[in-house]
Amino acid sequence: MYATKTFPLSKKKLALSENELVLALRQRDKIGAEALYDMYSSSLYGIIFRIVQHDEIAEDLLQEAFVKIWNSFASFDSSKGRLFTWMVNIARNLSIDKIRSKDFRNNSKNQDIENAVNFIDEQRSTAINPDILGVKELVQKLKPEQKSILDLVYFRGYTHVEAAEELGIPLGTVKTRMRMAIMTLRKFFN
């Protein structure tokens, strides 16, 4: 029914083309859910973990995100963007809601996120996903100001207005830096 192929990360994992995946998800097929999980759980978990910095909470949020993705899949509109972008928005919003919630902030176990991000980047990114080549190389290609705007917006959910305030730069500069950062990514991955 679907042209499944082995996902490079693991033998058991399912992978479908985005169109096949969207079709399976619309039909609410189990294989669609499995492929969705196998293809995107680690990327989504990486983003959630970067935001909440806590294994257990991140796993709960990942589950919550998948339930929400699955149950509100009818509202996904491919004319507005790719599936992954839509899913990242869901996962990111859930994670940000979580860290802004009272019970999360009151939990002394949660580390200071500001200080932790760079540490996590250095400690985990290369070690955990060795299949993706040249993360260090990529980080070297991205200028620090490009990386920080990318991480603020894409990983931490800042709007461009908030990012401008945070970095103390004009709105226009946020837009240009973001464009340059993504141009660098495009060049790097092609």
Partner: protein, 272 residues
Amino acid sequence: MEEIKTYIESGILELYASGGLNSAERLEVEAMLVKHPSLKAELDEIEKSLEQYAASYAVEPSAQLRQKVLGSLAFSESKHVAPEAGIINFAAPRQSAFFRYAFAASVALLLLSVVAIAVLYSRLQNTQQQLAVLQTSNQQFTNRVNYLNTEVDRQQMVLGVLRNPQYKMIRLAGTAQAPDASMVVAFNPAKKDVVIDLAALNMPENDADHQYQLWALVDGKPVDLGVFDKKDEDGMKKMKALENAQAFAVTLEPRGGSVSPTMEQMMVMGAI
């Protein structure tokens, strides 16, 4: 085309793809995408690069999470149900099935109990009937045994008198008054005992106003020994004590007896 180029170069598509716009700004971009399909290809490239960027920071969640996550999704069997409700419904039927089975089991148990009670009740009724029958027959046996005991006592007394050599058996013969009458008096001078054998009494019936009275002739004088009726029970009747006598006689007297015998009404007499 120039307008689109400027739009692309503004960096707004990058912000859109990376989630940096507020909802109003997003709607504007979406309107532009509909209006200018060529923008979609550019957006697609931006999104792919971000996807790869995210993948380079991917972290594997723990292995058991996969089953947990997939377990919390409702698959196509329940796609007619509203998705949010689907999760609740997933667990609900199991619970209601449990209560259905529990209810069925309760009803079955109740029916079984009713049947058991009915059976036990009918057995109890039978037992009570049997018990009543047995009690009645037990009463009958008791009566019979009592009767036989009385009878045995009486016969024992008769035998006691008849077998005892100390008793003298005096036969009283009928007089002119009643030629066919006869009776037997047993007399034990040693024990001063006088007994009459009612079974061997052969005398006319006395009426309600009269009774027979037994007399002893002691040195020519009559001595009262008590009264009796023809209708008295069978067996031996003990009369008044007497030490010595030469003869016995019976007269018919007014009920209760007389002080001295009415000689005209003498029925039987006999000498020792």
